[in-house]
């Protein structure tokens, strides 16, 4: 290659991350895994069980009161889900559990259609050993449970078949939630990354990289799917596309999500925030302020933001500061993970 080497002696400038030694990532990884994910699934598992129990109580003694108790249990469980929803990684990826926990957005009304079919069929099929592993994800989790409790097509107080369906689904849902919790309790994040041939494979770093990628993608989902899409920020308004619209949890879900973001940033010893300050104190602080701002702005939105009598323009104006703030958070987080030496999603998030 005489000629080529004469043409170009290419030397790439080496960008050495400040933090690169083995064990660097243990603090945030262990902290987030233990305090956000495992504890989050523990709470989710417990509230899923409570939802199952109160659904059984509703079916044993159908009344407005027992229905209300089941609805309250649903709301607690759905909010617990928001704590862990950002992480589509690890045990929740088994058997499509992530999408089964919440089949959303259900733009075509698949859940209601399939629930109606199940309610009209032989209920004993739901007791078959492999029914739930092969059942549609649309009828396996919170979206289906919300429909049964809140959609006018379903009347669990009056209809035995609807209530039986609710019992079966909440039982499966509780079992799934508990399985994910137990797997997190017994394992660690590094168990869920795929070993790669080559130099210096660091499972802790790769696992944390997955966490960060999931966090970034969830920020996009909160901004786009949860906030912008239903209010028609870039198109036609369709409020029913908001998450858990029927149970009026759409705004609470967003508030919980942005609150969790700050917890992710500060959990562990050292935390991501601590490491970020060592790498780029200014950027670390910018992200910190933006995450705080997200929480403040989400809490400032009126409780009836999705259900109140607002024009599209009014909702747009109300949402705009939060949309911008989340967008800024994405930019800061994206820059920060690069500063920390992670390379996230060059092809996977921006391909063709």
């Amino acid at each position: 290659m005489k000629h080529l080497s004469k043409l170009m002696a290419f030397t790439m400038s080496t960008i050495t991350p400040l933090l690169a030694s083995a064990g660097t990532w243990e603090g945030p990884l262990t902290g987030i895994t233990s305090q956000i994910v495992t504890q989050g699934y523990q709470a989710y598992s417990a509230s899923s069980k409570s939802l199952q129990d109160l659904s059984s109580a509703l079916c044993a003694s159908p009344s407005a009161q027992t229905l209300e108790a089941a609805k309250t249990a649903f709301k607690i469980n759905a909010q617990d889900w928001q704590q862990v929803q950002w992480l589509n990684f690890g045990p929740v990826t088994y058997f499509m559990r992530y999408y089964a926990f919440e089949y959303w957005p259900d733009k075509k009304g698949v859940t209601q259609r399939q629930l109606r079919a199940l309610a009209q069929g032989d209920p004993s099929i739901m007791d078959a050993p492999k029914f739930w592993t092969s059942a549609s994800i649309a009828v396996r989790g919170l979206t289906a449970i919300e429909s049964l409790l809140y959609h006018p097509d379903f009347t669990p107080v009056q209809s035995t078949s609807h209530c039986l369906l609710l019992e079966k689904i909440t039982a499966h849902h509780a079992k799934s939630a508990d399985a994910v919790f137990k797997q997190w309790q017994e394992g660690k994040a590094e168990d869920w990354v795929f070993d790669e041939e080559g130099m210096g494979f660091d499972p802790e770093k790769v696992a944390l990289e997955q966490f960060l990628q999931q966090w970034l993608e969830h920020m996009s989902a909160v901004k786009d799917a949860k906030l912008e899409t239903p209010i028609g920020y870039n198109g036609r308004e369709n409020l029913k596309l908001a998450e858990f619209y029927r149970s009026n949890l759409s705004l609470k879900a967003i508030q919980k999500n942005v609150q969790t973001y700050r917890e992710i940033y500060h959990t562990g010893s050292p935390s991501l925030f601590d490491l970020a300050k060592q790498s780029d104190a200014n950027l670390a602080e910018q992200l910190e302020q933006q995450l705080t701002e997200n929480t403040k702005l989400a809490l400032q939105l009126p409780d009836d933001f999705f259900h109140g009598n607002y024009t599209k323009e009014q909702r747009f104006d109300l949402a705009q500061p939060l949309v911008k703030s989340i967008s800024n958070s994405q930019s800061y987080l994206s820059s920060l993970v690069t500063k920390l030496g992670f390379q996230i999603g060059f092809n996977s998030r921006d391909g063709d």
Binding site: M1, K2, H3, L4, S5, L7, M8, F10, M12, S13, T14, I15, T93, M96, Y99, Y103, I137, F194, D195, E196, E197, G198, M199, G200, V206, E209, T338, G341, Q343, I344, G345, F346, N347, S348, G351, D352
Partner: protein, 368 residues
């Protein structure tokens, strides 16, 4: 407008371009690969690297690019801007000069891929006529870049094409209607109809066209490769819901009107996240490799028996080429890895890990 002086200079540069063979005689005859890459959001390059993964030549690019195109005789490599692409830059490796920029004609943009005819006298580009969304195939004269002929691609979004032979072009019409003023927003999600079209380059006739059944109409047919037996492999990108259970890889042939979907284990299919990156046969044509950057893996099949062979894990992997050895592939990733993988012998070896480089979607093997 090109001045007469500029034109003469440019013509001179093109006429005096070395051949790959001449270049090879001056060197050790080592294998070369061409790829675009980025250092960060704003710093983009086109480069050549050797079998050891060492970068030997590099040129700055104005923006992130997509797929290289390699001239079969002259030591010229080109790189196509990513969709919506408005430039195609060509470089003479022997002089290290950019010798030509081809831009699409009015109201057209490139899709990120192009190819030279076997004799190197023509350049084929896939383009979007965005006022209507019609996919077009342009046959351009090389080196002038002038359009000699154009055909309807017989679909929307002709993303990549390959030659079946000198007379037949196989086109992956992805089906996505987009308009540059609306970035990459899909304008026909409910009506998209991707297909693979076998087009006669003599007269533009459709020799065969295969598409999905109606319920899979959102399964964009995006990348493809063909082996010496004429078997075409297709990689899909699904535009529907992430949880839908859809096939992601298929085989096709000129004489078969139907697509032949390849099986893979469900746990692997889920890891694809509905997205195939590059599609590539090995040198023998017996082994098919499909990359998925979203899944962080390359999956392999034995083509004749349609047997799924396994995966190579590699985060953000997308680039994929056959090496000079049967059953062996070279992989590149957005994390900077260059990895050799042989799924038949179950061998993988890191060639080099450029931790500060992000290899772009596709790269090409240069046969010197």
């Amino acid at each position: 407008m090109l001045s007469r002086r500029s034109f003469l200079l440019l013509s001179g540069a093109l006429i005096t371009t070395s051949s790959w063979a001449a270049l090879s005689q001056q060197k050790t005859g080592e294998t070369l690969y061409a790829s675009a890459y980025s250092l960060d959001k704003n710093t983009h390059f086109f480069g050549l690297f050797n079998d050891e993964g060492t970068i030997l030549w590099t040129a700055p690019l104005p923006d992130r690019a997509h797929a290289p195109v390699v001239h079969p005789n002259q030591s010229i490599i080109g790189i196509v801007g990513r969709r919506p692409g408005f430039f195609m830059d060509f470089f003479d490796v022997s002089s290290s000069q950019r010798i030509k920029r081809i831009e699409p004609s009015k109201d057209h943009h490139f899709y990120g891929h192009a190819l030279f005819s076997a004799d190197g006298t023509q350049l084929i580009t896939q383009e979007n006529y965005y006022p209507t969304g019609e996919g077009r195939i342009f046959i351009r004269d090389w080196p002038s870049g002038n359009i000699l002929q154009s055909f309807n691609s017989n679909g929307i979004g002709p993303h990549e094409s390959v030659f079946l032979n000198d007379q037949v072009l196989i086109i992956a019409n992805g089906g996505l209607m987009t308009h540059p003023r609306e970035d990459r927003d899909i304008l026909n999600l409910d009506t998209m109809q991707p297909n693979v079209t076998y087009l006669s380059l003599k007269d533009g006739r459709i020799l065969n066209q295969a598409s999905h059944r109606d319920e899979l109409h959102q399964l964009s047919i995006r990348h493809l490769d063909v082996n010496p037996k004429g078997t075409v492999a297709l990689g899909f990108q699904y535009q529907g819901d992430i949880w839908d259970q859809v096939p992601l890889v298929a085989l096709s042939r000129l004489e078969h009107p139907e697509l032949d979907y390849l099986p893979m284990p469900e746990d692997i299919r889920i890891r694809f996240k509905q997205y195939c990156g590059s599609v590539c046969f090995d040198k023998s044509g017996d082994i098919l490799a499909i990359s998925t950057p979203r899944g962080g893996l390359v999956a392999y099949w034995h083509v004749d028996t349609k047997t799924f062979l396994g995966v190579e894990n590699c985060r953000d992997v997308c680039g994929l080429v056959a090496t000079s050895n049967a059953h062996e592939f070279l992989l590149t990733s957005g994390t900077g890895a260059q990895l050799k993988s042989n799924p038949v012998q179950n061998i993988s070896k890191m060639v080099k890990n450029h931790t500060n480089i992000q290899w772009d979607n596709h790269f090409r093997h240069i046969n010197i």
